[in-house]
């Protein structure tokens, strides 16, 4: 955590705490007040306030011209965000569920993500693509994915995954101010929605003033000496739960919250592994060709000397099933993380 952030955060410790959705909305509102060129487009973002509360209250302050409900036409409105951004505006466009990216992928990966490069840097696309991600509530195969690795794999997009209200606000300020396209993936289970209870943890103290969290700065959410657990999103909290259980057995894990996948803070990961010698990577995305493999490779490339053991915990390579016993099986749980930590240490 940068010193500036620490000062901001500590200055507010005694103050209010916010849900992750309120923190996100606060950053968006701040940027919209400061810059008339910022606007928000999406399905059910106006009167409804976002199905996952991502725009709650913004319509009342900013009106329909700037908080725009749009037809169910993702190709058109995500592409319109690209076009408006290339004109110099700062649109925020929302995918209600990240799973819906499929109907508009060309605008995302061939236009939004590539126009800067293809233009030799003469065009830029300062937009934010927000998307709800994640499972754990039995919404089945088409509404439960995170797809972290998919977006992070394709070059040209910065990819942000907050796990707390504090991080959500600072990362959103940075996302809107960034001159490149930013994919901002918020986990439904962390937002603090009434009908989808959040775990303890994402609701944190949040400074009232604006602040930015630089992309590419992973955050050590828990310091520990024995095993490094690298993760993101909801699974930061599951890893912290596992840490408490493991601590009872004298196992001291360090939890590294990536916060952004692109850029990736490999220094923080490597420093932690240099200290612990044991790496466990936990991801709510599919196992193969994804985040877990990338993190492990990035450590291995830096040198294998520090690395005594590696484990990964991720969704197996199956679509996410509906029924509770099967979804619980495939989405990594606290016990899965603890088991991986023990395995990395050679305990059985």
């Amino acid at each position: 955590m940068a010193q500036q952030e620490k000062d901001d955060a500590s200055g507010q410790q005694a103050g209010r705490s916010l849900t992750m959705s309120r923190a996100m909305v606060e950053a968006i509102a701040h940027e919209m007040r400061a810059d008339d060129e910022v606007f928000y487009m999406g399905e059910d973002v106006a009167d409804y306030g976002g199905i996952f509360d991502s725009t709650e209250g913004l319509l009342e302050e900013f009106g329909r011209d700037r908080i725009m409900d749009v037809p169910i036409s993702e190709t058109a409105y995500l592409g319109a965000a690209v076009g408006a951004a290339q004109e110099g505006m700062r649109p925020i466009a929302e995918l209600m569920f990240v799973d819906f990216f499929g109907v508009a992928m060309d605008q995302i990966y061939n236009q939004m993500a590539k126009n800067t490069y293809m233009s030799g840097g003469s065009v830029n696309v300062p937009m934010v693509l927000t998307a709800a991600v994640g499972g754990t509530y039995n919404d089945a195969a088409q509404h439960s994915q995170t797809l972290y690795g998919t977006f992070a794999h394709l070059p040209g997009m910065k990819v942000v995954v907050p796990s707390t209200a504090y991080d959500a606000k600072g990362l959103m300020h940075n996302a809107i101010r960034d001159d490149d396209p930013v994919v901002y993936m918020f986990h439904k289970r962390l937002m603090g929605i009434g009908w989808l209870p959040a775990p303890d943890g994402p609701k944190t103290g949040v400074p009232e003033d604006d602040y930015t969290i630089p992309f590419g700065s992973a955050d050590v959410k828990r310091e520990g000496a024995d095993v490094t657990v690298v993760t993101l999103g909801l699974h930061v909290h599951r890893a912290l739960e596992a840490a408490a259980d493991l601590a009872d057995d004298g196992i001291d894990i360090e939890v590294v919250d990536l916060r952004t996948l692109v850029p990736l803070d490999t220094d923080t990961i490597r420093d932690s592994v240099a200290k612990t010698g044991h790496l466990v990577v936990v991801d709510e995305d599919y196992r193969s060709y994804g985040v877990t493999g990338e993190i492990i490779a990035s450590v291995a490339e830096a040198g294998l000397d520090d690395l005594e053991a590696v484990e990964r915990v991720a969704l197996p390579d199956v679509p996410i099933p509906y029924a509770r016993p099967m979804e619980d099986e495939v989405v990594p749980g606290t016990e899965d993380i603890a088991a991986a930590v023990r395995a990395a240490r050679g305990d059985e």
Partner: protein
């Protein structure tokens, strides 16, 4: 002219769908009170109910055979019932049970019953292209099967729908696109997202027939559907049929509907195609005893399906690893951290 026995069939399907969803609603809310947690209770996850839509499913599907294909969207129950999907196994699927249509893998938005060529997609308008594909197969094989894609009016702005209209039209395929227009795409009223009041006008730009009827008059829905399905079956090409329905529920269970004017919901509740069809039956000389029999038969069937479903076992957690492929490779691994324990497909 719709025959009396056809009216009775339609009525029974509509009543079955309404009663079924009222019972599902009760079961869904169990475990979600006083605090509504979407992941709690015997039916977790999203649940999209179709009260007010029944005439569209019943009026169209009564002209279909088992070998005709239907693709349904995220709000599929009334369509599935009218198409003849196995109600017990469908209910078990919704309850996430091992004997469900998909063994609990699909859930209520993803119902598949190949015995009657019924499939769903939870992604808006994405059932349209597969319906075009079913129509293409019928044409290539020179059968007289047809395909019907159901969608909501919110989906008519989606590329998959518009591209499908064009492909079906230019290939002269036996496809009917049925738009259930309930005036609302979740919180977005139709007039805010399209400049065309009558969605059937979309047909004009693609060279296919467009029709629009009001579900208040279930008989009119059936007559329009007879024409559209007949056109497809006779090799005379696709039709876009828009049916004005009424949304009596929220978009999904838990939808606060705070965006919706009270008068709008009241109006939807007052326009009940089931009540009107009952009057039509009486006007055709069907006595009250027969109507009561149809209702009680629907009731018994619904109760039987729900009781049966709740008695079925849950799937084993390891079942999650099966069915990714029909011919599974050996590489699908489970989440075990260290051992080389592979999934259930071995």
């Amino acid at each position: 002219m719709v025959a009396v026995n056809e009216l009775q069939e339609m009525y029974e399907n509509m009543v079955t769908a309404r009663q079924y969803e009222e019972r599902l609603q009760e079961e869904y809310m169990a475990g979600k009170q006083p605090a509504f947690d979407i992941s709690a209770g015997p039916i977790p996850g999203e649940l999209h109910l179709a009260a007010g839509h029944e005439a569209a499913g019943a009026g169209v599907c009564q002209h279909l055979r088992d070998d005709d294909t239907v693709t349904a969207p995220h709000r599929p129950h009334h369509i599935a019932i009218a198409k003849g999907v196995d109600l017990k196994r469908m209910t078990a699927e919704i309850f996430g049970r091992e004997s469900g249509l998909s063994g609990g893998k699909g859930g209520h938005m993803h119902l598949f019953d190949p015995d009657v060529n019924f499939a769903c997609s939870g992604i808006i308008a994405e059932g349209c292209p597969p319906a075009v594909g079913a129509g293409l197969a019928a044409k290539k094989r020179n059968t007289d099967s047809v395909a019907v894609a159901f969608l909501g009016e919110g989906a008519i702005d989606q590329g998959a729908f518009l591209e499908s209209l064009n492909l079906a039209s230019v290939q002269n395929l036996p496809v009917v696109f049925v738009v259930e227009d309930n005036d609302w795409a979740i919180s977005m009223p139709k007039e805010r997202v399209t400049d065309v009041e009558n969605g059937a006008q979309r047909a004009d730009g693609f060279g296919l027939q467009g029709m629009r009827v009001d579900a208040d008059d279930a008989v009119a829905v059936s007559e329009a559907a007879r024409e559209a399905v007949g056109r497809a079956r006779d090799g005379n090409g696709p039709t876009l049929l828009e049916v004005q329905v009424h949304r009596r529920m929220g978009h999904f269970m838990g939808d606060p509907e705070s965006y919706r004017p009270d008068e709008d919901k009241d109006a939807a509740e007052q326009r009940d195609s089931i009540e009107r069809l009952e009057s039509d039956l009486q006007a055709h000389g069907v006595d009250d005893e027969t109507i009561d029999d149809l209702r009680s038969r629907a009731h018994d069937r619904v109760e039987e399906a729900i009781e049966w479903a709740k008695d079925q076992p849950e799937p084993e957690s390891e079942d999650a690893y099966e069915d990714v492929f029909v011919n599974p490779p050996s590489g699908v691994t489970d989440n075990e951290p260290s051992t080389a324990d592979t999934g259930g497909d071995d």
